[in-house]
């Protein structure tokens, strides 16, 4: 009798969650693929951290913040005292692999359903994966590479660090394979274009000192692409001038539609970094700016590096003392390592964003600018001995915009020209997260306080080595 009561118990337990899709039976339509691709783009938002660290670690800025332990992870990177336990480095490591994992999820199921436009979708996907891998290589050197799909916990403990050259070779192959599938212009701003893929590929060549290859692809961007320099440098970074003609690849942020919280930076659709870099306003009318946490403050030496007449200094470095002189009612709180300077390119503005407003600003990050492409191409021409004239032309195109005249043209050649190009990169791109990696790449690290030989790479997060089964050697010196 007792047993009779359950005549169909096995069936009774056969239930699945209602109204939720299962990860193994997805990818049944084009929209499934499109939605999954949005998930891959999603992680671009987290690159705010790489960009902040790329400045703080360099000689451009100090960490700043509220006090000397405010975001200790960043302070340590500024001082080059960071260890393998640094939480910010772990975030970079985790978030970039999160993007790679989502891209690989699409690749795992890439043949499941066909539709028109799939080649372009897969091309965008490969670009994003390459972008994430490149960030990892810049920070950590050799990184474990997996390509074909998602992996299990067991598999995550059986993958070795892939030599940097091999990762680069894969990225070159992937990017070369997608160029023809991408258009120069997309319907939606923020989508990956042919120019973005070529520029990233050029950058990857340049990082390997493969100058002829770099020149080839970068020249295509310059000659075939729809890009030009914005005539007025001071307008490039305004929120009203996003996705402008100079923008080859731009990370999109929006703070007006979804709230943000400190509990999940990777969930935020706004630009987390902008608020961190803002001034600690106290009182008065400091319109159009918004309050911030005074991180990533430029040093006097950077300010002084701009010649008089260089129109880039003011749009690059915000001089809060000068601002207060013009607005006597405005008061501020001085943060840690106060220099009086702030990163003007990404200052937070008072705008229609949702709470937590401090980390939800809408400033897009101009990831690859046309001037960056020009300077990379100039560098490749110069260092590769491929033509100082072209190098000078590209360089002076950038300088003429900066000074508004031809009086400041560079006429040097050889290694002097290379050095001039490097200096120009610093001035043109300060505050955009490139500086530290340029310094390391070009061996110009003596000006970074605390920099020693080990600092050419960041340490692989210790916990990640442990979680991956203790099979990865740590980078030297950590």
């Amino acid at each position: 009798m007792v047993l009779m009561i359950c005549y169909a118990c096995d069936d009774y337990l056969e239930i699945l969650p209602e109204g939720q899709e299962n990860s193994e039976n997805y990818f049944n339509s084009e929209s499934d693929y499109q939605n999954a691709l949005v998930g891959v783009y999603d992680l671009l938002s987290t690159t705010y951290l790489s960009n902040v660290l790329g400045e703080i670690a360099s000689d451009n800025t100090l960490c700043g913040g509220g006090d000397a332990t405010d975001v200790l992870d960043w302070q340590q990177i500024d001082d080059m005292t960071h260890t393998a336990d640094n939480g910010a480095l772990r975030s970079v490591f985790q978030w970039m692999y999160a993007g790679i994992s989502r891209a690989n999820y699409i690749i795992e199921f890439k043949d499941k359903t066909d539709f028109s436009g799939k080649d372009q979708l897969l091309a965008e996907n490969l670009f994003l994966r390459s972008y994430y891998y490149f960030e990892l290589v810049k920070f950590f050197g050799d990184v474990p590479m997996y390509l074909d799909g998602r992996i299990s916990i067991e598999e995550s403990q059986s993958i070795d660090r892939t030599p940097k050259a091999q990762v680069y070779a894969q990225l070159e192959q992937d990017l070369n394979s997608i160029i023809d599938d991408l258009p120069w212009q997309q319907d939606q701003n923020g989508r990956v274009t042919k120019g973005a893929a070529l520029a990233l590929l050029g950058k990857i060549y340049l990082y390997q000192d493969k100058f002829p290859e770099a020149v080839t692809v970068l020249d295509r961007v310059i000659n075939e692409g729809p890009y030009d320099l914005v005539s007025d440098y001071s307008t490039i970074f305004l929120n009203s001038n996003e996705n402008n003609i100079e923008s080859v690849f731009e990370v999109q942020y929006s703070g007006g539609q979804e709230g943000a919280s400190f509990g999940c930076f990777q969930c935020v659709e706004g630009n987390v970094a902008a608020g961190f870099m803002g001034v600690r306003w106290l009182g008065g009318n400091y319109s159009p700016y918004a309050y911030g946490f005074s991180f990533n403050v430029p040093v006097q030496e950077l300010y002084d590096a701009y010649e008089d007449g260089d129109t880039r200094r003011e749009p690059t470095i915000f001089d809060v003392n000068a601002f207060m002189a013009s607005r006597p009612d405005v008061t501020i709180t001085e943060g840690n390592e106060h220099t009086g300077y702030f990163n003007h390119k990404y200052l937070p503005y008072a705008e229609a964003v949702l709470p937590d407003q401090n980390i939800n600003h809408s400033n897009n990050y101009r990831a690859i600018r046309f001037s960056d492409v020009l300077l990379m191409a100039a560098e490749a021409y110069s260092r590769g001995g491929l033509g100082d004239g072209t190098a000078q032309a590209y360089l002076n195109r950038v300088r003429r915009r900066a000074f508004g005249d031809t009086n400041h043209d560079i006429t040097s050649s050889g290694s002097a020209l290379t050095q001039d190009i490097w200096n120009e990169r610093r001035l043109e791109l300060a505050g955009e997260g490139h500086r530290f990696f340029d310094q390391v790449r070009t061996g110009q690290t003596s000006s970074i306080p605390g920099f020693t030989g080990r600092n050419v790479l960041f340490p692989i997060p210790r916990i990640e080595i442990e979680l991956a089964g203790n099979r990865w050697p740590q980078n030297d010196g950590y």
Binding site: M1, V2, L3, C6, C9, Y12, L13, I15, L16, P17, E18, Q20, E21, N22, Y26, Q34, N35, A36, V38, Y41, D42, D67, A68, T69, D70, D73, H82, T83, G87, F93, W95, Y97, A98, I100, R102, Y105, R150, I151, S152, I153, S156, I159, Q188, N189, G190, S240, Q252, Q257, E258, C264, E269, W281, S287, T333, A350, A352, Q357, S362, L467, A468
Partner: protein
């Protein structure tokens, strides 16, 4: 000689002849109603022969030797013995045993005589339960049962408490299973009025295996007050009224102390002194003092119990209301309950039992218990900031002073926060059962029980436009840049308002049912007594919820108008930039199912040798097809030495030794974690193209198809002894619990991609945790005279907790919160769960020479905390695990409860004490900014060589002093006078005249005083998460209550 022998033989023969047998019959009735009793056992003493009475109380027993003794026994009544002289009828009246219920233990799917129990149980009777006037049953458990620890999350109205039976067995949900009259009531224990409880039995050992995968955290079996057959209706009315106040406040600096301290910081850092003239300071706000108020608490309960020949009933209703000691108009709790037990004998063999409980809860709350709480702000706000700014309240400040941004961009005026807090919660819960008991044949009973919990709950909140001052992260509106006396209600300046307050509503319901069918068979073969149970259980839990929020933009912007129906989406596009404020609606839904088979065999031989074996087989949809089924056996045995014939110690009335071993399980994890689910297009996989957020899709929590339940192995040995005419009873148990295959969410390699928004690592079975210790309880009852009696209870529990393995590669999981983002606690291999793990301090650097002699400690100055170089590498590493070590343990070594009750003529006096020894608390309510207020022990700070070796110097640059270290760990041991109570009962002779059985009035104080060295509010501060327990974020303090009440019955 021969003649003598013959005479003896004759005598012997005649004796044998005289020892003739007779047939005895008669009727057994009970004393109060004079009604016959069915099923009374009648046994010829010293034999195993016996009969039971029939429906009319009649019995006939044949072949009874003259001069033998008949024993009449009936559950709940005092045994009676009658010597048989002849064959005349013997009619017996049995007297009810007032202690009757104590003699029976509810063991799950049945009861057992306490004497025969071989598992580890604790029981609490009604008087103990209601002694402290508890609002919730968790309060009644605290200090009243060995092996049971109760800690509070908060002293706010309606706050839940944490019950831990024999330590922390899992990193997840440690709450025990609670069964009320056979009904699994789920996780909300507030639905029961403690006045309704007749007794609580707590199963502590592996005897919970009869509940299988629900049994790992222990089981609490509650029996509510019900009627008995053939009783006139008994009414009881219990009521009390209390005033509550904060048990203590934290000593903070006043305005002069604060100003001097800030001056010292600024001077030390080389800055100008902000308060050069202390005499000019006229504001001195004591934020805590202004917040705390006296608040009432009222309880009424009325019950009626009784029964007729075929029906028994227990009906009760109660009302409980509690206001908060902070902002009582916005922080309060009301509960109604109505309960009905009804038992009907449908036929001679078929009985219907029903139980129905309705609970209605209404509550309001203020932010508490975390970084955004009213008290956190009050503890860190400057005493130089006034509460009110002198405006009329119609302006942007709403009349509240701004707290300067120098005090922290997230620290706001707590009164302004309260002013902007509007919420209400409700819950309507029905819990009930329908149960049929059928006596198939003698001693074989079939029970079919359907029980259910239906809950309808939800809430509403309104967040009006709030501005707390410049730069505050809590602002949800900006000021108009052109006119700072107005809100900027048009963010994109298109001429149309786009900023409104937010209204949120949610409505959720759950329906759980359990359908159980079981057979219970009792049989004795000679002195071998068997009881066999066999059953099945089908269980389902379903959930559905709707959630909505949006801008309140229709009608007035008031709480009374704050409903979702008055909310409309706004989307404005100006120059391609989207500004939106949308009505968001979402839902959640879920179902889990279980199917179980269970069986139990209980055996005893002459009540001397006890044995019990049980097994339950559970299948749960929490796990996938690979590992769906678990088997949970347990065994126990006992030896009642005092029932042995050879046992003859006058001092000892009973002595029993017991032992048990068994396996239980735990499946309390999220739903469908064996299956990989996508987040859906409302998840976190989003990206803004063209400034318009596009919703994508991505994997949510990662799957683990091989997931299975946690397995808990428990061994228990113990003894029960009662001495001196049962006046003194002692119970001692030793237990060892080991939980294997802990369900945890480990840190996983970044390569898995679980760090993306909306994703999370899979649950895995990875870890082992062990608890061992002693439970001891002592009870002493003595009636000195008719008018003077004493009852004294003491219990002690020790827990030694250790994580044997935490099997993720890192070997630990972090938790807890210190300052803004530092973790305090670890669940780490080889250490107790939730242990505090940080830098170890070793005094304060007195001079530069000490710094030079010490390991390299970056930025150290005289007056800074001196950290121990744990790894011995000559450098104190910050932001690394190298120099971190164990700096405290939130789990107490020993907890104790003590109860004393005295009855002296018409007066009764009671007190209960509770002590916890060896627990540490993390002081984590400080904000550490230059302009934050500080606890006043900072007045004893280091100000020069030899001034302090404990409290570091004042300096904002010395921020390494604010790293998580043993400086912030305090000893949380305490002794609390939980209750003192004095009552007076009107003598019976007066009561009879007015027709009352009892009339008692009393006065009581709860939480009279806590002896502790802890400097915060509450040394037993806790957290439902075991890896964050003992971390004091400025939780709501306990309340001290002053109570007067009455108990009436008639």
């Amino acid at each position: 000689m021969t003649a003598k022998i013959l005479r003896v033989l004759v005598l012997l023969i005649s004796c044998v002849t005289f020892g003739q047998n007779v047939t005895v019959s008669g009727t057994v009735k009970e004393n109060v109603s004079d009604q016959p009793l069915l099923g009374v056992n009648i046994l010829i003493k010293g034999t195993n022969r016996g009969v039971t009475t029939d429906f009319d109380g009649n019995y006939t027993i044949t072949d009874v030797p003259i001069n033998s003794v008949l024993v009449y026994s009936y559950l709940g009544y005092v045994d009676q013995e009658v010597t048989v002289k002849n064959g005349n009828p013997i009619n017996v009246v049995l007297v009810e045993d007032s202690e009757a219920l104590d003699e029976v233990v509810v063991i799950g799917y049945g009861t057992q005589r306490k004497e025969l129990v071989s598992g580890a149980f604790s029981s609490i009777e009604a008087e103990r339960i209601t002694q402290t006037n508890p609002g919730r049953i968790e309060d009644a458990l605290r200090g009243n049962a060995s092996g049971v620890q109760v800690t509070s999350n908060s002293g706010s109205p309606g706050a839940s408490l944490n019950i831990r039976i024999r330590g922390i067995t899992t990193n997840g949900d440690n709450s025990p299973l609670v069964i009320v009259d056979g009904v699994n009531i789920g996780t909300d224990l507030s639905i029961i009025d403690p006045n309704d409880i007749e007794k609580m039995d707590i199963i502590k050992d592996a005897s919970t295996a009869i509940y299988g995968v629900q049994g790992a955290n222990g089981v609490i079996l509650i029996t509510t007050k019900s009627g008995r057959k053939d009783r006139k209706t008994k009414f009881s009315y219990n009521s009390f009224f209390s005033f509550q106040e904060a048990e203590n406040t934290i000593d903070l600096m006043d305005n002069y102390e604060y100003a001097a301290y800030v001056n010292e910081i600024q001077a030390a850092d080389g800055n100008a002194i902000p308060y050069p003239n202390l005499q000019l300071l006229d504001t001195n706000t004591d934020w805590q003092d202004e917040l705390f108020e006296r608040a009432p608490l009222v309880s009424h309960s009325l019950s009626a119990t009784g029964g007729s020949e075929k029906v028994t009933y227990g009906i009760s209703a109660s009302y409980f209301t509690q206001d908060g000691i902070i902002a009582s108009d916005k922080s309060n709790y009301q509960r109604w309950t109505v309960k009905n037990n009804l038992g009907i004998n449908l036929t001679e063999k078929l009985k219907l039992n029903t139980f129905l409980l309705y609970t209605n809860i209404r509550s309001q709350g203020i932010p508490e218990g975390n970084r955004g709480s009213v008290l956190y702000y009050a503890l860190n706000a400057s005493p130089l900031t006034a509460i009110y700014d002198g405006t009329d309240g119609t302006g942007v400040s709403r009349g509240f002073e701004y707290i300067g941004v120098e005090q922290g961009s997230e620290i706001i005026n707590p009164f302004a926060l309260i002013n902007n807090t509007y919420n209400e919660g409700f819950a309507d819960r029905f819990t009930g059962k329908v149960e049929l008991e059928y006596d198939v044949i003698n001693d074989l009973k079939f029970t079919s029980r359907f029980n259910f919990n239906y809950s309808d709950y939800g809430g509403r909140s309104f967040s009006p436009l709030s501005y707390y001052g410049p730069g505050k992260v809590n602002n949800n509106v900006s000021l108009d840049t052109n006119d700072p006396t107005m809100f900027d209600l048009d963010r994109n300046d298109d001429g149309t308002r786009d900023v409104y307050g937010t209204v949120s509503e949610n409505r959720q319901h759950t329906f759980d049912f359990i359908f159980e069918n079981f057979l219970d068979y009792k049989k004795s073969f000679g002195d071998h007594n068997f009881n066999v149970l066999l059953g099945t259980s089908i269980r389902s839990e379903t959930y559905k919820g709707f959630f909505g929020s949006g801008p309140l933009n229709s009608g007035p912007e008031t709480w009374d108008n704050a409903y979702l129906g008055n909310s409309n989406s706004i989307i404005q596009i100006v120059d391609g930039v989207v500004t939106s404020s949308l009505v968001n609606v979402s839902d959640g839904r879920n179902e889990n199912r279980w199917y179980s088979l269970f069986g139990r065999l209980q055996y005893d031989y002459k009540s001397k040798y006890l044995f019990s074996a049980m097994i339950r087989r559970d299948a749960s949809t929490k796990f996938g097809p690979n590992n769906r089924i678990g088997n949970f056996p347990s065994f126990s045995g006992g030896w009642v030495i005092s029932n042995e014939d050879f046992f003859n110690v006058d001092l000892i009335n009973s002595l029993k030794i017991r032992g048990s071993w068994g396996i239980t399980g735990n499946d309390k994890i999220g739903d469908y974690r064996w299956l990989g689910l996508l987040q859906g297009t409302t998840g976190e996989a989003t990206y803004p193209f063209d400034d318009l957020i596009v919703n994508g899709n991505a994997i949510g929590a990662l799957a683990n198809p091989d997931l299975k339940w946690e397995t808990n192995y428990q061994t228990n040995v113990g003894f029960d002894i009662s001495l001196f005419d049962r006046k003194l009873s002692l119970t001692l148990d030793y237990y060892r619990k080991k939980t294997e295959d802990l369900l945890l969410v480990p840190d996983v390699s970044a390569l898995l991609g679980a760090s993306a928004g909306g994703s999370s690592p899979p649950f895995v079975n990875a870890g082992t945790i062990e608890n061992k210790g002693f439970d001891f309880s002592l009870n002493f009852d003595h009636q000195f005279t008719d008018n003077f009696s004493i009852n004294l209870g003491y219990n002690l529990t020790t827990v030694k907790n250790k994580a044997l393995s935490v099997n993720n590669a890192a070997g630990f999981i972090s938790g807890g919160l210190f300052n803004l983002n530092q973790a305090t606690s670890r669940f780490q291999t080889g250490l107790p769960i939730g242990v505090f793990y940080g830098l170890q301090t070793n005094g304060v650097f007195q001079n530069q020479a000490e710094i030079d002699a010490h390991a390299v400690q970056p930025n150290a100055q005289p007056g800074d905390l001196r950290y121990v170089d744990v790894d011995g590498d000559g450098v104190i590493e910050y932001g690394s695990s190298d120099d971190l070590t164990v700096i405290g343990n939130p789990i107490p070594d020993v907890t104790m409860g003590f109860n004393l009750n005295l009855n002296f003529y018409q007066f009764d006096f009671g007190t209960s004490l509770y002590a916890s020894i060896g627990n540490d608390v993390a002081r984590s309510y400080e904000r550490f900014l230059t302009y934050s207020n500080k606890p006043d022990f900072y007045l004893n700070r280091w100000t020069g060589e030899g001034t302090s070796n404990e409290v570091p110097r004042a300096s904002s640059l010395a921020s390494n002093n604010q790293l998580w270290s043993s400086f912030y760990v305090e000893d949380g041991s305490y002794l609390r006078i939980q209750n003192v109570q004095l009552g007076y009962s009107i003598p019976e002779k007066f009561l009879e005249r007015i027709g009352l059985d009892q009339f008692r009035i009393y006065a009581a104080v709860n939480n009279l005083y806590t002896f502790t060295k802890y400097r915060g509010y509450n040394p037993d501060v806790s957290n439902a998460n075991p890896v964050a327990s003992g971390v004091d974020l400025g939780q709501y303090p306990n309340t001290r209550t002053f109570t007067t009440g009455i108990n009436v019955s008639f």
